[in-house]
Protein backbone atom coordinates (compact mmCIF):
# COMPACT_ATOMS: atom_id res chain seq x y z
CA UNK A 1 0.00 0.00 0.00
CA UNK A 2 2.74 2.36 1.00
CA UNK A 3 4.36 1.82 -2.39
CA UNK A 4 1.13 2.51 -4.22
CA UNK A 5 0.71 5.64 -2.12
CA UNK A 6 4.23 6.74 -2.90
CA UNK A 7 3.91 6.18 -6.65
CA UNK A 8 0.51 7.81 -6.91
CA UNK A 9 1.72 10.57 -4.65
CA UNK A 10 4.71 11.31 -6.84
CA UNK A 11 2.67 11.25 -10.02
CA UNK A 12 0.06 13.60 -8.63
CA UNK A 13 2.63 15.90 -7.07
CA UNK A 14 4.36 16.18 -10.43
CA UNK A 15 1.05 16.93 -12.11
CA UNK A 16 -0.09 19.35 -9.45
CA UNK A 17 3.19 21.12 -8.95
CA UNK A 18 2.90 22.25 -12.55
CA UNK A 19 -0.08 24.42 -11.71
CA UNK A 20 0.46 25.01 -8.01
CA UNK A 21 3.91 26.50 -8.10
CA UNK A 22 3.52 28.94 -10.96
CA UNK A 23 2.35 31.82 -8.87
CA UNK A 24 5.46 32.46 -6.77
CA UNK A 25 7.70 32.26 -9.84
CA UNK A 26 5.85 34.95 -11.71
CA UNK A 27 5.63 36.94 -8.50
CA UNK A 28 9.40 36.78 -8.15
CA UNK A 29 9.81 37.99 -11.73
CA UNK A 30 7.43 40.83 -11.11
CA UNK A 31 9.55 41.92 -8.20
CA UNK A 32 12.76 41.69 -10.17
CA UNK A 33 11.46 43.89 -12.96
CA UNK A 34 9.85 46.48 -10.69
CA UNK A 35 11.48 49.87 -11.28
CA UNK A 36 14.20 50.27 -8.70
CA UNK A 37 13.68 53.37 -6.66
CA UNK A 38 16.73 55.09 -5.28
CA UNK A 39 17.90 53.42 -2.10
CA UNK A 40 17.09 55.63 0.86
CA UNK A 41 19.37 56.42 3.71
CA UNK A 42 18.07 57.67 6.98
CA UNK A 43 19.03 61.29 7.37
CA UNK A 44 19.89 61.26 11.07
CA UNK A 45 20.52 64.98 11.21
CA UNK A 46 16.94 65.90 10.30
CA UNK A 47 15.15 62.77 11.47
CA UNK A 48 12.00 63.04 13.55
CA UNK A 49 10.79 60.68 16.26
CA UNK A 50 7.34 59.53 17.24
CA UNK A 51 6.92 57.96 20.66
CA UNK A 52 3.89 57.07 22.67
CA UNK A 53 2.09 54.41 24.56
CA UNK A 54 -0.78 52.05 24.02
CA UNK A 55 -3.17 52.55 26.90
CA UNK A 56 -5.73 49.99 27.97
CA UNK A 57 -8.94 50.87 29.78
CA UNK A 58 -11.80 48.78 31.06
CA UNK A 59 -11.81 45.39 32.72
CA UNK A 60 -8.63 43.51 32.16
CA UNK A 61 -9.68 40.21 30.54
CA UNK A 62 -8.50 37.12 32.39
CA UNK A 63 -6.48 34.91 30.13
CA UNK A 64 -7.08 31.19 30.19
CA UNK A 65 -4.54 28.63 31.23
CA UNK A 66 -3.00 26.56 28.50
CA UNK A 67 -3.18 22.81 29.04
CA UNK A 68 0.11 21.30 27.85
CA UNK A 69 -0.52 17.81 29.17
CA UNK A 70 -0.73 16.50 25.59
CA UNK A 71 3.03 16.91 25.42
CA UNK A 72 4.82 16.29 28.75
CA UNK A 73 8.03 17.82 27.39
CA UNK A 74 6.16 21.12 27.14
CA UNK A 75 4.37 20.80 30.48
CA UNK A 76 7.68 20.16 32.26
CA UNK A 77 9.02 23.51 31.09
CA UNK A 78 6.27 25.19 33.13
CA UNK A 79 6.40 23.11 36.27
CA UNK A 80 5.70 26.19 38.43
CA UNK A 81 2.43 27.58 37.10
CA UNK A 82 0.57 26.65 33.92
CA UNK A 83 1.26 29.20 31.17
CA UNK A 84 -1.50 31.55 30.15
CA UNK A 85 -2.76 32.50 26.73
CA UNK A 86 -1.03 35.64 25.46
CA UNK A 87 -3.98 36.91 23.47
CA UNK A 88 -4.38 40.02 25.63
CA UNK A 89 -1.51 41.01 27.91
CA UNK A 90 -2.22 44.12 29.99
CA UNK A 91 0.88 45.50 31.69
CA UNK A 92 0.90 46.56 35.35
CA UNK A 93 0.98 50.22 34.29
CA UNK A 94 -2.33 49.83 32.44
CA UNK A 95 -0.83 49.57 28.97
CA UNK A 96 -1.23 46.91 26.33
CA UNK A 97 1.64 44.64 25.37
CA UNK A 98 2.21 43.03 21.95
CA UNK A 99 0.78 45.86 19.89
CA UNK A 100 2.41 46.36 16.50
CA UNK A 101 2.73 50.07 15.71
CA UNK A 102 3.81 51.02 12.19
CA UNK A 103 3.74 53.80 9.67
CA UNK A 104 0.94 52.72 7.39
CA UNK A 105 1.17 55.54 4.87
CA UNK A 106 2.77 58.88 4.16
CA UNK A 107 6.36 57.80 3.51
CA UNK A 108 8.10 58.88 0.31
CA UNK A 109 8.50 56.14 -2.35
CA UNK A 110 11.94 54.82 -1.51
CA UNK A 111 13.75 51.59 -0.99
CA UNK A 112 14.76 51.50 2.63
CA UNK A 113 17.87 49.50 3.50
CA UNK A 114 17.07 46.05 4.87
CA UNK A 115 18.96 45.28 8.11
CA UNK A 116 21.33 42.38 7.75
CA UNK A 117 20.71 41.18 11.31
CA UNK A 118 17.84 38.76 11.56
CA UNK A 119 14.97 39.08 14.03
CA UNK A 120 14.72 36.09 16.32
CA UNK A 121 11.60 34.04 16.88
CA UNK A 122 12.16 31.42 19.55
CA UNK A 123 10.21 28.35 20.55
CA UNK A 124 10.72 27.81 24.24
CA UNK A 125 8.49 25.96 26.65
CA UNK A 126 6.23 25.39 23.64
CA UNK A 127 5.44 29.09 23.42
CA UNK A 128 6.69 31.60 20.88
CA UNK A 129 8.88 34.38 22.11
CA UNK A 130 8.32 37.16 21.40
CA UNK A 131 4.60 36.76 20.76
CA UNK A 132 4.67 39.57 18.17
CA UNK A 133 7.62 40.59 16.01
CA UNK A 134 8.15 43.06 13.20
CA UNK A 135 10.55 42.70 10.27
CA UNK A 136 11.21 44.46 7.02
CA UNK A 137 10.28 42.71 3.81
CA UNK A 138 13.18 40.42 2.87
CA UNK A 139 14.77 40.76 6.30
CA UNK A 140 15.70 37.41 7.78
CA UNK A 141 13.81 35.86 10.64
CA UNK A 142 15.88 33.41 12.67
CA UNK A 143 13.67 30.64 13.99
CA UNK A 144 15.11 28.82 16.97
CA UNK A 145 13.87 25.67 18.69
CA UNK A 146 15.02 25.53 22.30
CA UNK A 147 12.58 22.77 23.21
CA UNK A 148 13.21 19.06 23.60
CA UNK A 149 10.25 18.46 21.28
CA UNK A 150 9.41 18.64 17.57
CA UNK A 151 7.75 21.78 16.31
CA UNK A 152 6.28 22.69 12.99
CA UNK A 153 6.30 26.32 11.94
CA UNK A 154 3.33 27.26 9.86
CA UNK A 155 2.80 30.92 8.92
CA UNK A 156 -0.62 31.74 7.48
CA UNK A 157 -0.03 34.75 5.20
CA UNK A 158 -2.64 36.05 2.78
CA UNK A 159 -0.26 37.99 0.52
CA UNK A 160 3.06 36.18 0.97
CA UNK A 161 3.74 32.53 0.22
CA UNK A 162 2.44 30.09 2.85
CA UNK A 163 4.79 27.34 4.06
CA UNK A 164 4.99 24.66 6.74
CA UNK A 165 8.23 23.14 7.98
CA UNK A 166 9.26 21.01 10.90
CA UNK A 167 12.10 21.72 13.30
CA UNK A 168 13.40 18.86 15.43
CA UNK A 169 14.34 19.23 19.11
CA UNK A 170 17.28 21.65 19.41
CA UNK A 171 17.47 21.44 15.61
CA UNK A 172 19.36 23.81 13.35
CA UNK A 173 18.07 27.39 13.28
CA UNK A 174 16.03 28.38 10.27
CA UNK A 175 16.42 31.60 8.33
CA UNK A 176 13.20 32.67 6.65
CA UNK A 177 11.88 35.85 5.11
CA UNK A 178 8.78 37.28 3.52
CA UNK A 179 9.00 39.27 0.29
CA UNK A 180 5.96 41.52 0.63
CA UNK A 181 4.48 43.90 3.14
CA UNK A 182 1.80 42.18 5.21
CA UNK A 183 0.38 43.24 8.59
CA UNK A 184 0.04 40.70 10.18
CA UNK A 185 0.99 37.10 9.42
CA UNK A 186 -0.27 34.65 12.08
CA UNK A 187 2.13 31.80 12.81
CA UNK A 188 1.08 28.54 14.36
CA UNK A 189 2.44 25.19 15.37
CA UNK A 190 0.05 22.36 14.62
CA UNK A 191 1.86 19.99 16.96
CA UNK A 192 1.04 22.33 19.85
CA UNK A 193 -2.19 24.01 18.80
CA UNK A 194 -2.03 26.67 21.53
CA UNK A 195 1.15 28.17 20.03
CA UNK A 196 0.47 31.38 18.19
CA UNK A 197 2.56 34.35 17.16
CA UNK A 198 2.26 37.21 14.69
CA UNK A 199 4.78 38.68 12.31
CA UNK A 200 4.40 42.18 10.88
CA UNK A 201 6.20 42.56 7.54
CA UNK A 202 6.75 46.14 6.41
CA UNK A 203 8.54 47.76 3.46
CA UNK A 204 10.37 50.26 5.68
CA UNK A 205 12.04 50.33 9.09
CA UNK A 206 9.40 52.48 10.85
CA UNK A 207 7.65 50.09 13.17
CA UNK A 208 7.78 48.92 16.79
CA UNK A 209 6.16 46.39 19.10
CA UNK A 210 5.02 47.39 22.58
CA UNK A 211 6.67 45.56 25.43
CA UNK A 212 6.30 45.39 29.20
CA UNK A 213 5.90 49.15 29.54
CA UNK A 214 3.46 49.51 26.65
CA UNK A 215 5.48 52.20 24.90
CA UNK A 216 6.85 52.45 21.40
CA UNK A 217 9.43 54.61 19.66
CA UNK A 218 9.75 55.11 15.93
CA UNK A 219 12.97 56.90 15.08
CA UNK A 220 14.57 58.22 11.94
CA UNK A 221 11.40 59.45 10.21
CA UNK A 222 11.82 62.01 7.43
CA UNK A 223 9.72 65.11 8.11
CA UNK A 224 6.16 64.64 6.87
CA UNK A 225 2.59 63.66 7.66
CA UNK A 226 1.97 60.02 8.43
CA UNK A 227 -0.76 57.62 9.32
CA UNK A 228 0.31 55.40 12.20
CA UNK A 229 -1.53 52.20 12.83
CA UNK A 230 -1.62 50.22 16.05
CA UNK A 231 -2.54 46.60 15.48
CA UNK A 232 -3.59 44.15 18.17
CA UNK A 233 -4.59 40.52 17.62
CA UNK A 234 -7.89 40.84 19.45
CA UNK A 235 -8.99 44.47 19.20
CA UNK A 236 -9.73 46.48 16.05
CA UNK A 237 -6.70 48.37 14.67
CA UNK A 238 -6.48 52.11 15.32
CA UNK A 239 -5.13 54.80 13.00
CA UNK A 240 -3.75 58.18 14.00
CA UNK A 241 -2.44 61.02 11.81
CA UNK A 242 0.74 62.74 12.88
CA UNK A 243 2.84 65.49 11.29
CA UNK A 244 6.48 65.84 12.25
CA UNK A 245 9.00 68.43 11.20
CA UNK A 246 12.77 68.01 10.99
CA UNK A 247 14.32 66.87 14.29
CA UNK A 248 10.91 67.07 15.92
CA UNK A 249 9.69 64.60 18.54
CA UNK A 250 5.99 63.95 18.94
CA UNK A 251 3.97 61.82 21.29
CA UNK A 252 1.02 59.78 20.11
CA UNK A 253 -1.08 57.57 22.37
CA UNK A 254 -3.44 54.84 21.31
CA UNK A 255 -6.37 54.21 23.64
CA UNK A 256 -7.56 50.60 23.55
CA UNK A 257 -10.71 49.60 25.42
CA UNK A 258 -11.80 46.24 26.75
CA UNK A 259 -14.53 44.87 24.49
Amino acid sequence: MKKIYICLGIVSILTFSGCGKKEPESAAKEEATAPATAPATIDDANAATVTGKVAFSGDKPTMRNIDMSANPACARAHSGAPPKSEEVVVNDNGTLKNVFVWVKSGLPERQWPVPSTPVELTQKGCMYGPHVIGVMANQNIKIVNNDPTNHNIHPLPKINQEWNESQPPKGEDKLKRFAREEVMIPVKCNVHPWMRSYIGVVNHPFFAVTGDDGTFTIKGLPPGTYTLEAWHEKYAPQDVQVTVGAKESKTVDFPFKAS
Binding site: R64, N152, H154, N164, C189, N190, V191, R196
Partner: protein
Protein backbone atom coordinates in the same frame (compact mmCIF):
# COMPACT_ATOMS: atom_id res chain seq x y z
CA UNK B 1 -20.39 -21.88 3.90
CA UNK B 2 -16.97 -21.20 2.48
CA UNK B 3 -17.70 -17.49 2.50
CA UNK B 4 -18.61 -17.14 6.17
CA UNK B 5 -15.07 -16.06 6.94
CA UNK B 6 -15.07 -13.68 4.05
CA UNK B 7 -18.16 -12.02 5.51
CA UNK B 8 -16.61 -11.84 8.97
CA UNK B 9 -13.49 -10.35 7.49
CA UNK B 10 -15.50 -7.74 5.58
CA UNK B 11 -17.35 -6.76 8.76
CA UNK B 12 -14.05 -6.37 10.59
CA UNK B 13 -12.80 -4.24 7.71
CA UNK B 14 -15.88 -2.02 7.96
CA UNK B 15 -15.33 -1.57 11.71
CA UNK B 16 -11.70 -0.64 11.12
CA UNK B 17 -12.87 1.91 8.58
CA UNK B 18 -15.27 3.46 11.11
CA UNK B 19 -12.37 3.70 13.52
CA UNK B 20 -10.37 5.36 10.74
CA UNK B 21 -13.12 7.92 10.26
CA UNK B 22 -12.93 8.68 14.00
CA UNK B 23 -9.13 8.97 13.75
CA UNK B 24 -9.52 11.36 10.79
CA UNK B 25 -12.09 13.45 12.64
CA UNK B 26 -9.65 13.73 15.54
CA UNK B 27 -7.04 15.12 13.15
CA UNK B 28 -9.35 17.85 11.91
CA UNK B 29 -10.80 18.74 15.31
CA UNK B 30 -7.33 19.02 16.86
CA UNK B 31 -6.13 21.08 13.91
CA UNK B 32 -3.39 18.48 13.63
CA UNK B 33 -3.41 18.08 9.84
CA UNK B 34 -0.16 19.99 9.35
CA UNK B 35 1.61 18.81 12.50
CA UNK B 36 3.51 16.44 10.22
CA UNK B 37 4.63 18.63 7.31
CA UNK B 38 6.00 15.83 5.14
CA UNK B 39 4.37 12.92 3.34
CA UNK B 40 4.63 9.96 2.63
CA UNK B 41 7.23 9.86 5.42
CA UNK B 42 6.58 11.56 8.77
CA UNK B 43 9.47 13.75 9.96
CA UNK B 44 11.53 11.78 7.45
CA UNK B 45 10.76 8.53 9.26
CA UNK B 46 8.27 5.70 9.23
CA UNK B 47 7.68 6.27 12.93
CA UNK B 48 8.13 9.78 14.36
CA UNK B 49 7.91 10.62 18.08
CA UNK B 50 4.20 10.45 18.86
CA UNK B 51 4.02 13.70 20.81
CA UNK B 52 1.42 16.45 20.82
CA UNK B 53 -0.72 16.47 17.71
CA UNK B 54 1.74 14.28 15.83
CA UNK B 55 -0.02 11.44 17.64
CA UNK B 56 -3.27 12.23 15.81
CA UNK B 57 -1.81 12.94 12.39
CA UNK B 58 0.65 10.09 12.27
CA UNK B 59 -1.78 7.78 14.09
CA UNK B 60 -4.34 8.55 11.39
CA UNK B 61 -1.79 7.69 8.71
CA UNK B 62 -1.00 4.39 10.43
CA UNK B 63 -4.66 3.40 10.75
CA UNK B 64 -5.16 4.45 7.12
CA UNK B 65 -2.25 2.28 5.98
CA UNK B 66 -3.74 -0.65 7.89
CA UNK B 67 -7.15 -0.13 6.31
CA UNK B 68 -5.43 0.17 2.94
CA UNK B 69 -3.76 -3.21 3.44
CA UNK B 70 -7.03 -4.73 4.66
CA UNK B 71 -8.70 -3.38 1.53
CA UNK B 72 -6.13 -4.94 -0.80
CA UNK B 73 -6.61 -8.27 0.91
CA UNK B 74 -10.39 -7.92 0.79
CA UNK B 75 -10.36 -7.12 -2.95
CA UNK B 76 -8.15 -10.10 -3.69
CA UNK B 77 -10.27 -12.38 -1.52
CA UNK B 78 -13.47 -11.27 -3.27
CA UNK B 79 -11.83 -11.79 -6.63
CA UNK B 80 -10.75 -15.32 -5.69
CA UNK B 81 -13.81 -16.44 -3.73
CA UNK B 82 -16.81 -14.53 -5.02
CA UNK B 83 -18.99 -15.93 -7.78
CA UNK B 84 -20.84 -12.70 -8.31
CA UNK B 85 -18.96 -10.65 -10.83
CA UNK B 86 -20.35 -7.33 -9.64
CA UNK B 87 -19.14 -8.13 -6.12
CA UNK B 88 -15.63 -8.66 -7.43
CA UNK B 89 -15.89 -5.33 -9.17
CA UNK B 90 -17.13 -3.67 -6.02
CA UNK B 91 -13.99 -4.92 -4.28
CA UNK B 92 -11.81 -3.28 -6.90
CA UNK B 93 -13.82 -0.07 -6.66
CA UNK B 94 -13.25 -0.03 -2.90
CA UNK B 95 -9.53 -0.48 -3.48
CA UNK B 96 -9.53 2.37 -5.96
CA UNK B 97 -11.42 4.57 -3.51
CA UNK B 98 -9.07 3.91 -0.61
CA UNK B 99 -6.07 4.62 -2.81
CA UNK B 100 -7.57 7.87 -4.04
CA UNK B 101 -8.39 8.72 -0.44
CA UNK B 102 -4.80 8.15 0.64
CA UNK B 103 -3.54 10.35 -2.19
CA UNK B 104 -6.01 13.10 -1.25
CA UNK B 105 -4.78 12.85 2.34
CA UNK B 106 -1.17 13.24 1.23
CA UNK B 107 -1.98 16.08 -1.14
CA UNK B 108 -3.85 17.99 1.52
CA UNK B 109 -0.72 17.82 3.70
CA UNK B 110 1.67 18.84 0.95
CA UNK B 111 -0.49 21.69 -0.31
CA UNK B 112 -1.25 22.94 3.22
CA UNK B 113 -4.89 21.85 3.52
CA UNK B 114 -6.44 23.43 0.44
CA UNK B 115 -10.15 23.45 1.22
CA UNK B 116 -11.38 21.53 -1.85
CA UNK B 117 -8.89 18.73 -1.14
CA UNK B 118 -9.74 18.51 2.57
CA UNK B 119 -13.46 18.57 1.79
CA UNK B 120 -12.98 15.94 -0.92
CA UNK B 121 -11.04 13.81 1.55
CA UNK B 122 -13.85 14.15 4.13
CA UNK B 123 -16.58 13.25 1.59
CA UNK B 124 -14.73 10.34 0.02
CA UNK B 125 -14.11 8.95 3.51
CA UNK B 126 -17.87 8.87 4.07
CA UNK B 127 -18.53 7.19 0.72
CA UNK B 128 -15.78 4.68 1.33
CA UNK B 129 -17.24 3.72 4.70
CA UNK B 130 -20.66 3.23 3.08
CA UNK B 131 -19.01 0.97 0.51
CA UNK B 132 -17.52 -1.19 3.25
CA UNK B 133 -20.95 -1.49 4.90
CA UNK B 134 -22.62 -2.29 1.57
CA UNK B 135 -20.11 -5.05 0.89
CA UNK B 136 -20.79 -6.39 4.40
CA UNK B 137 -24.51 -6.56 3.57
CA UNK B 138 -23.93 -8.21 0.18
CA UNK B 139 -21.64 -10.83 1.67
CA UNK B 140 -23.92 -11.66 4.61
CA UNK B 141 -25.61 -15.04 4.99
CA UNK B 142 -29.04 -13.41 5.15
CA UNK B 143 -28.42 -11.80 1.77
CA UNK B 144 -27.66 -15.20 0.29
CA UNK B 145 -30.95 -16.56 1.56
CA UNK B 146 -32.61 -14.56 -1.18
CA UNK B 147 -35.03 -11.70 -1.41
CA UNK B 148 -38.68 -11.53 -0.26
CA UNK B 149 -40.36 -9.40 -2.99
CA UNK B 150 -43.11 -7.36 -1.52
CA UNK B 151 -45.30 -4.93 -3.40
CA UNK B 152 -45.46 -1.23 -2.85
CA UNK B 153 -47.70 0.87 -5.02
CA UNK B 154 -47.55 4.06 -2.98
CA UNK B 155 -46.78 7.43 -4.46
CA UNK B 156 -44.12 8.56 -4.94
CA UNK B 157 -42.62 5.16 -5.72
CA UNK B 158 -40.62 3.85 -2.76
CA UNK B 159 -37.63 3.44 -5.07
CA UNK B 160 -37.56 7.16 -5.63
CA UNK B 161 -37.31 7.72 -1.91
CA UNK B 162 -34.62 5.05 -1.83
CA UNK B 163 -32.55 7.19 -4.18
CA UNK B 164 -33.56 10.56 -2.77
CA UNK B 165 -32.79 9.86 0.89
CA UNK B 166 -29.13 8.78 0.55
CA UNK B 167 -28.63 11.58 -1.96
CA UNK B 168 -29.94 14.18 0.51
CA UNK B 169 -27.82 12.70 3.29
CA UNK B 170 -24.77 12.86 1.06
CA UNK B 171 -25.39 16.49 0.11
CA UNK B 172 -25.82 17.16 3.83
CA UNK B 173 -22.45 15.52 4.56
CA UNK B 174 -20.78 17.59 1.88
CA UNK B 175 -22.29 20.79 3.30
CA UNK B 176 -21.09 19.70 6.74
CA UNK B 177 -17.58 19.07 5.43
CA UNK B 178 -17.57 22.46 3.68
CA UNK B 179 -18.63 24.12 6.93
CA UNK B 180 -16.12 22.17 9.00
CA UNK B 181 -13.30 23.18 6.70
CA UNK B 182 -14.51 26.80 6.70
CA UNK B 183 -15.37 27.01 3.03
CA UNK B 184 -18.96 28.06 3.81
CA UNK B 185 -20.98 29.08 6.86
CA UNK B 186 -23.05 26.71 8.93
CA UNK B 187 -26.45 27.91 7.68
CA UNK B 188 -26.67 25.76 4.52
CA UNK B 189 -25.83 22.73 6.65
CA UNK B 190 -28.48 23.54 9.24
CA UNK B 191 -31.06 24.14 6.51
CA UNK B 192 -29.86 20.95 4.84
CA UNK B 193 -30.42 19.10 8.11
CA UNK B 194 -34.13 19.92 7.89
CA UNK B 195 -34.33 18.59 4.34
CA UNK B 196 -32.19 15.51 4.98
CA UNK B 197 -34.01 14.62 8.20
CA UNK B 198 -37.34 15.17 6.44
CA UNK B 199 -36.34 12.85 3.61
CA UNK B 200 -35.12 10.21 6.03
CA UNK B 201 -38.36 10.40 8.00
CA UNK B 202 -40.47 10.16 4.87
CA UNK B 203 -38.49 7.16 3.66
CA UNK B 204 -38.33 5.27 6.96
CA UNK B 205 -41.91 5.96 8.04
CA UNK B 206 -43.12 4.77 4.67
CA UNK B 207 -41.13 1.54 5.01
CA UNK B 208 -42.19 1.02 8.63
CA UNK B 209 -45.88 1.66 7.93
CA UNK B 210 -46.07 -0.73 5.02
CA UNK B 211 -43.34 -3.30 5.41
CA UNK B 212 -42.64 -3.64 9.11
CA UNK B 213 -43.37 -7.36 8.92
CA UNK B 214 -40.18 -7.97 7.02
CA UNK B 215 -37.11 -8.11 9.24
CA UNK B 216 -34.55 -6.80 6.82
CA UNK B 217 -36.66 -3.78 5.91
CA UNK B 218 -37.86 -3.01 9.43
CA UNK B 219 -34.44 -3.29 11.02
CA UNK B 220 -32.73 -1.18 8.41
CA UNK B 221 -35.42 1.49 8.66
CA UNK B 222 -35.25 1.59 12.45
CA UNK B 223 -31.49 1.81 12.34
CA UNK B 224 -31.62 4.69 9.87
CA UNK B 225 -34.21 6.71 11.75
CA UNK B 226 -32.51 6.30 15.13
CA UNK B 227 -29.05 7.08 13.90
CA UNK B 228 -30.41 10.19 12.14
CA UNK B 229 -32.01 11.50 15.33
CA UNK B 230 -28.79 10.88 17.21
CA UNK B 231 -26.95 12.75 14.47
CA UNK B 232 -29.19 15.79 14.70
CA UNK B 233 -28.64 15.88 18.46
CA UNK B 234 -24.88 15.56 18.00
CA UNK B 235 -24.95 18.30 15.35
CA UNK B 236 -26.57 20.70 17.80
CA UNK B 237 -24.07 19.65 20.47
CA UNK B 238 -21.16 20.09 18.05
CA UNK B 239 -22.37 23.56 17.15
CA UNK B 240 -22.88 24.61 20.75
CA UNK B 241 -19.52 23.24 21.82
CA UNK B 242 -17.81 25.19 19.03
CA UNK B 243 -19.50 28.37 20.22
CA UNK B 244 -18.75 27.68 23.87
CA UNK B 245 -15.05 27.06 23.25
CA UNK B 246 -14.46 29.71 20.58
CA UNK B 247 -12.35 31.78 22.97
CA UNK B 248 -10.26 28.88 24.25
CA UNK B 249 -6.54 28.98 23.43
CA UNK B 250 -6.57 25.41 22.10
CA UNK B 251 -9.04 22.71 20.92
CA UNK B 252 -11.06 21.72 23.97
CA UNK B 253 -12.09 18.13 24.76
CA UNK B 254 -15.86 18.84 24.70
CA UNK B 255 -15.62 20.35 21.25
CA UNK B 256 -13.38 17.56 19.98
CA UNK B 257 -15.70 14.92 21.47
CA UNK B 258 -18.92 16.25 19.96
CA UNK B 259 -17.52 17.20 16.57
CA UNK B 260 -15.78 13.85 16.11
CA UNK B 261 -18.90 11.99 17.26
CA UNK B 262 -20.90 14.02 14.74
CA UNK B 263 -18.47 13.09 11.94
CA UNK B 264 -18.55 9.40 12.90
CA UNK B 265 -22.32 9.16 13.35
CA UNK B 266 -22.55 11.10 10.08
CA UNK B 267 -20.76 8.16 8.46
CA UNK B 268 -23.21 5.78 10.14
CA UNK B 269 -26.17 7.86 8.91
CA UNK B 270 -24.91 7.75 5.34
CA UNK B 271 -24.27 4.01 5.58
CA UNK B 272 -27.66 3.31 7.17
CA UNK B 273 -29.43 5.19 4.39
CA UNK B 274 -27.49 3.20 1.79
CA UNK B 275 -28.38 -0.09 3.52
CA UNK B 276 -32.09 0.70 3.65
CA UNK B 277 -31.99 1.62 -0.03
CA UNK B 278 -30.24 -1.62 -0.86
CA UNK B 279 -32.91 -3.52 1.06
CA UNK B 280 -35.68 -1.67 -0.75
CA UNK B 281 -34.18 -2.29 -4.17
CA UNK B 282 -33.72 -5.93 -3.33
CA UNK B 283 -36.97 -6.72 -1.57
CA UNK B 284 -39.61 -4.37 -2.89
CA UNK B 285 -41.01 -5.03 -6.34
CA UNK B 286 -41.13 -1.97 -8.48
CA UNK B 287 -44.68 -0.92 -9.30
CA UNK B 288 -45.28 -1.91 -12.88
CA UNK B 289 -47.37 -0.02 -15.40
CA UNK B 290 -50.73 -1.80 -15.65
CA UNK B 291 -50.24 -3.14 -19.15
CA UNK B 292 -46.77 -4.42 -18.66
CA UNK B 293 -46.54 -8.04 -17.64
CA UNK B 294 -42.96 -8.90 -18.49
CA UNK B 295 -40.65 -9.34 -15.55
CA UNK B 296 -38.14 -6.63 -15.08
CA UNK B 297 -34.70 -7.30 -13.79
CA UNK B 298 -34.15 -6.18 -10.22
CA UNK B 299 -30.66 -4.93 -9.52
CA UNK B 300 -28.71 -6.99 -7.03
Amino acid sequence: MKNVWLHRYVVLWAFCTLFLVVAGGLVTSHDAGLSVPDWPLSYGKLMPTMEGNIFYEHGHRMVATTVGLLTIFMAVWLWRAEDRRWMQNLGWIALLAVTAQGVLGGLTVIFLLPRPVSIGHACLAQLFFSTTVAISVFSSPSWKRGSIMVDDDGAPPLHWLAIGAPLCVFIQLALGAAARHQAIGILPHVAGAVVATGMVLWFTVRVLMRHADYDSLRRSALALVSVTFLQVFLGIAAYMSRLATAEAPQPMPVMVGFTVAHVAVGALTMAASVVLSIQVFRNVRRPMPAMQTARIAIPF
